[in-house]
């Protein structure tokens, strides 16, 4: 399995908007609390297979949804639970994702 990635969006509104879009496109994902290693934000994040990163970015961008940050976990998800304490930032924001 590919490593697990986590995407942070601006607020729960965009998380749920993204969820709606990803469900419609049958792109596997989970909505999970933002891992504390990434942010002290009390919001939610999207957990997904890193192989889908570029597609996720494209799909959300088409809908005008900004990805605030994307992170890679060194390990795979265990039953949908983010794994590992060291998340590697893939971007400081949307610009660097492309």
């Amino acid at each position: 399995m590919s490593p697990t990635c986590v995407a942070i969006l601006d607020s729960i509104h965009y998380i749920l908007k993204a969820e709606k879009i990803l469900k419609a496109r049958e792109m596997p994902h989970e909505i999970v609390p933002v891992p504390r290693e990434i942010s002290s934000d009390c919001g939610m994040a999207i957990l997904f297979d890193c192989a889908l990163l570029m597609e996720l970015r494209r799909v959300l961008s088409e809908m005008g949804i900004r990805i605030r940050g994307a992170y890679r976990s060194p390990g795979s998800a265990r039953d949908g639970v983010p794994n590992g304490s060291r998340y590697v930032s893939l971007t400081d924001g949307d610009n660097e994702l492309s």
Binding site: H13, L16, C42
Partner: protein
């Protein structure tokens, strides 16, 4: 009781609204957008889906630009306080409710905005040409009651948006939303303020404002949003930038069910039924010589409410007798819109308002008309 006070708050609500609220309270009543557990996530979904539902109803392309408030008054205050600066000019009409007139009057006094109140006609109609004449290079905002809560008259929003120039157009849809189809894009509305507890068939404590793309407002309140919790500055992205504190999630669950009910029933069908009721009521009232009816004569030109006076009777006496002796609930007085009553010549005593709704029947109209005829014809026995 025969309930003809739907312009204040609609009653009854569809059973689906009550069910949605009861189910929310029983199963989902956690804080939306805060904690990370599944119940909180479900509560967040209720808020999100309600925003999406409102967006579909009013044809708002980006649901994040719908800001929830506790009613339309709060929404209008957010618009005026969040948009207007000293020396900005505002154009409105003499039909406006106190929810528009009072905050604007306050901003004239405390913030130095300038206000022009364009007179409506004696039947409650607004002439777009008069609005156009009132515009100046400093006009920042035009504020229009989509439908008057006194006369029921529907304002020509599309015609006004065509002549607005660089000014923004704010529409108070308190009386129209749910009763008259509203397409924000098609009508050229920049700011659409609505309330949930009238024709949208939701509970009290719900409402909001839809913002066209590009419009920014300063917030009326700031505080917890569940987002960017590490920062002490309020976030700048929608909808969080204009919302703070735990929302009325149970109310929004009800509002969503109310709008779903409207969409399932069909807005055109609702409009047709309400116009039929209004026509029956107006025809019956026309046969009572003591009654004067205000507002447009054509039910097509109004929302389903009819304001009247009865010669020889104060409004409050008619309302009291209709309620106490016949079980018919109406509303008498100034309806929080004193200038509208000055416009139609019924200030300071006001009118008796029959405001109809989707669940009213033709039989109820006939009962109310018979009651009114009886009150008028037995005048002596009442005195």
């Amino acid at each position: 009781m025969i309930y003809f006070d739907n312009a204040a708050t609609s009653f009854p609500k569809p059973p689906a609204v009550i069910k949605a609220m009861a189910e929310f309270m029983a199963t989902t009543s956690a804080s939306p957008g805060r904690s990370g557990h599944r119940m909180a996530l479900e509560a967040s979904r209720v808020v999100f889906e309600t925003r999406e539902t409102v967006a579909e109803l009013f044809n708002v392309s980006d649901s994040s630009r719908i800001v929830f408030t506790i009613n339309v008054t709060w929404a209008l205050n957010l618009v005026f306080n969040g948009l207007l600066a000293s020396q900005d000019h505002v154009v409105t009409t003499s039909l406006e409710h106190n929810s528009v007139m009072r905050p604007l009057t306050r901003l004239v006094k405390h913030r130095g905005i300038e206000l022009t109140v364009v007179p409506a006609g004696p039947d409650g109609t607004v002439d777009p040409a008069l609005i156009a004449q009132a515009l100046t290079p400093c006009t920042r905002l035009i504020v229009i009651n989509h439908a008057s809560n006194v006369t029921g008259s529907i304002a020509p929003i599309r015609a006004i948006s065509r002549i607005k120039g660089q000014a923004l157009l704010a529409v108070d849809a308190a009386q129209s939303a749910g009763s008259v189809p509203i397409d924000m894009n098609q009508l050229g509305i920049d700011l659409l303020a609505f309330t949930g507890h009238k024709a949208l068939l939701g509970p009290t404590g719900t409402g909001g404002v839809c913002l066209a793309p590009g419009i920014k407002l300063e917030p009326l309140v700031t505080g917890g949003t569940g987002s960017r919790s590490e920062e002490e500055e309020h976030p700048d992205f929608f909808p969080d930038c204009l919302e703070a504190g735990t929302p009325n999630t149970i109310g929004l669950a009800g509002l969503r069910a109310g709008i779903d009910f409207i969409r399932h029933t069909g807005q055109e069908k609702i409009r047709e039924h309400e116009q039929g009721l209004t026509r029956r009521l107006m025809e019956g009232l026309a046969e009572i010589p003591e009654v004067t009816v205000y507002g447009p004569a054509d039910p097509m030109a109004k929302v389903p409410l009819v304001s009247i006076t009865v010669a020889g009777f104060p409004a409050d006496e008619i309302c009291l007798r209709l309620d106490r002796d016949f079980g018919v609930a109406t509303r008498g007085g100034l309806h929080c819109a004193p200038r509208a009553h000055r416009t139609i010549g019924t200030f300071p005593h006001g009118t008796i308002r029959f405001s109809l709704g989707l669940f009213n029947t033709f039989d109820e109209i006939d009962v109310a008309l018979a009651a009114l005829r009886q009150i008028v014809s037995h005048r002596q026995s009442y005195r």
